[in-house]
């Protein structure tokens, strides 16, 4: 105890009627150790090897790896012992993780995580309602319904962009009967015909926000500079100038009900502007020729310049956009100019920003939704109330 404190403590105890207590004890809002966190995911992960990732299980595999590895190297590879280690794995069915006692940043609060794989969204929601699981990701469009059914819902900042991307040189390789590549005017006409607010309000059940640019407002602060309003009159005028009018084939992931609903809505909006659009379900890894397709892109950083660079890298593989790197110390104007240049080409048409939505059981405490590029912070989560084999703080 310092001299100052020692000298003053008795006086304070009398004057304030305070309780002199050293050290200060743990309080109820402080974490406790122990218990098994039950997690359900939709993907059926067949291997934890990131090199063997496929489109269906890549995201889930990444999340699991972020729990068992400490950090990512510059090339994105996972490395170092993480907060949890694998104690059991049944391909496509379950993963069992245990807390790493000597983890560099401190032992996680929970003793173990039990991940059940291959649970459909409906099953995850039901299990959350019945308290059969503690943590599960919920499709954004189902968040409202989940909350209405008493599920505790947590949302990230909207960091997942759903965009329309025109393939190749505007039309990609396609057979003559699928029409000519969509030129700049056709792309602009289609972009102007889309009612983004309706997609957010009706399909996403107000879970998200219309996107006009490639960065959300919370990240860049400049998203308001990009219009999200539909202009069917101008779209019709532009389309009328194109002779002969092409037929646009809009591809969406045939296994994704949200993408299907959005694609069909876009086709309806387009038809109202006189634009011929056919929505067609395609396999994500397939080579079906389409004029454009719906693409989901997740931000990899909350920093606007980093997030935009990453989007450009992703988009460069499927469409023609300017790919020169941003300056090393990019100013907000550099970022905005690059974003404006890409959006103005109409090769990428931002549609909506969606949050990641999670359902939590009542006993999960100190959960904070991860930011862009971050894994589930389950090492920081603790379980309230009685937990099996629970040990209070200090259990090692």
């Amino acid at each position: 105890m310092s001299r100052r404190l020692a000298a003053s403590s008795a006086v304070v105890a009398i004057v304030l009627g305070v309780l002199l207590s050293a050290p200060v004890g743990e309080t109820a809002r402080r974490p406790r150790y122990g218990g098994t966190l039950r997690v359900e995911i939709g993907a059926a992960v067949t291997s934890l090897d990131m090199a063997a990732a496929n489109a269906d299980e890549g995201g889930a595999k990444w999340e699991i790896n972020s729990l068992i590895y400490d950090e990512r190297a510059a090339d994105g590879a996972f490395q170092g012992a993480g907060p949890f280690h694998v104690t059991g794995f049944e391909a496509g069915k379950r993963v069992a993780l245990a807390a790493t006692q000597d983890y560099r940043l401190g032992r996680p609060f929970v003793d173990a995580i039990e991940i059940t794989m291959g649970r459909a969204a409906r099953e995850r929601m039901l299990d959350l309602e019945l308290n059969k699981t503690d943590f599960a990701e919920i499709p954004a469009e189902e968040a409202r319904r989940a909350a209405e059914h008493g599920v505790r819902v947590s949302r990230s900042e909207p960091d997942q962009l759903l965009a329309l991307v025109f393939t190749g040189d505007g039309g990609g390789t396609r057979t003559p009967e699928r029409g000519k590549p969509a030129g700049a005017k056709a792309r602009e006409a289609l972009a102007l015909s889309i009612d983004r607010a309706a997609i957010v309000n009706f399909i996403l059940q107000k879970e998200g926000e219309p996107a006009g640019g490639l960065l959300p407002q919370w990240s860049s602060g400049t998203a308001f500079l990009f219009s999200t309003a539909a202009d069917p009159v101008h779209a019709k005028e532009l389309w009328a100038q194109i002779v002969p009018a092409p037929k646009i084939v809009l591809g969406y992931d045939s296994g994704d009900s949200l993408e299907q609903a959005v694609a069909e809505r876009i086709a309806v909006d387009a038809r109202e502007a006189g634009i011929q659009v056919a929505a067609e379900g395609v396999h994500p890894a397939g080579a079906t020729a389409v004029s454009c397709r719906l693409v989901r892109m997740r931000m990899q950083s909350k920093q606007p310049a980093v997030a935009l660079e990453n989007f450009i890298d992703v988009l460069a593989g499927s469409t023609k956009i300017e790919t020169a790197a941003l300056p090393a110390a990019a100013t907000p104007e550099d970022v905005y100019d690059r974003e404006r240049a890409i959006v103005s080409s109409y090769r990428v048409v931002p549609l909506v920003w969606m949050p990641r939505v999670y359902g939590l059981s009542a006993r999960v405490r100190d959960w904070t939704p991860p930011g862009p590029g971050e894994g589930w912070p389950l090492a920081d989560v603790w379980l309230d109330g009685p937990v099996d084999g629970a040990a209070e703080e200090g259990k090692k």
Binding site: A22, V24, T27, R29, L105, G106, W218, R365
Partner: protein, 311 residues
Amino acid sequence: MKALGEKIVAAVKPSRTVSLEVKNISSLSAADVETIRRALEAEVRAEGLRMEAGGTDVEVTLSENFEGYVWVAEVHRMEAKESVPNVAIVSVAKSRDLWTEKSASLVLSKRQVWEQAAKMLDFAIVAGPSTDTSRLVILGTETFWFYRSNDARWELEQEIQIPHSAPSPRNVTGWIDAEGNRAYLRGIVCSGDFLQPKSVRCEPSDQNERRPQLRVKIQGREDVDTAVIGQTCRQDWATLATATTDWTQPDFLQGYVSQGSRVKESGAPLEMDGPVLALYPTDATSSARVIVRNLKTGSYEGYIVTATCSQ
């Protein structure tokens, strides 16, 4: 303000008149917006432009992102054919003194001393014989950092890796006794002359890492963290206390003063951008060291919170 003013002047050239409109879509208050508008107009005038209706339209939007304010000027030049306006953008840090109290009571203000991505358990400024010999010491979970004052900036002078003989708990705590030239965290004591960082050693120890401190019982808020910070208002003892929220919510600090045997709330709360992870009285009267995890940026921030008496 100057940067945005200069950018507006450059963007409107060769026009010498502007029509300025300021719009707020950020969390700034109406009073702040009015202050900014006046300052911006003064800046533009100082650059030699006249404010006139019918001048080049300049629309300034006070926006914000997760890091701070973003002020955007859209310049609609009449002679330009393109529909997209010329855009100038400046990033502005958020004010550190966000609140002042007008009634007679405790007024809390905060001054950010440090911010870093790595977890920070405590910090202290160790005053040397002169300003440029002062040190800022930061205690992390794995590293003990020493920064030296240089031209009003802190420059890293030395970092000491903290040995761990046993695994740390997730919610490890630690604190710095600047007067005693010691820092404590679970099972480790770092000691030496903090003004001579090379003399500091971190070694395993049986000493308790928790800081001995006075604990104030506030009726209805028994679970919160508190720090008694000394006599402030009319010789009353002042105490700071956190909110009752958990670590997923922004926190606030509330001031309390003693009145007889009662502890009474005083003044308005001071809002923080995240949970308060540690709250310790400083060696100076009426202030506390506060560690906050900013929920927007994810950074750990160290503040000195000072209580003054507003009469």
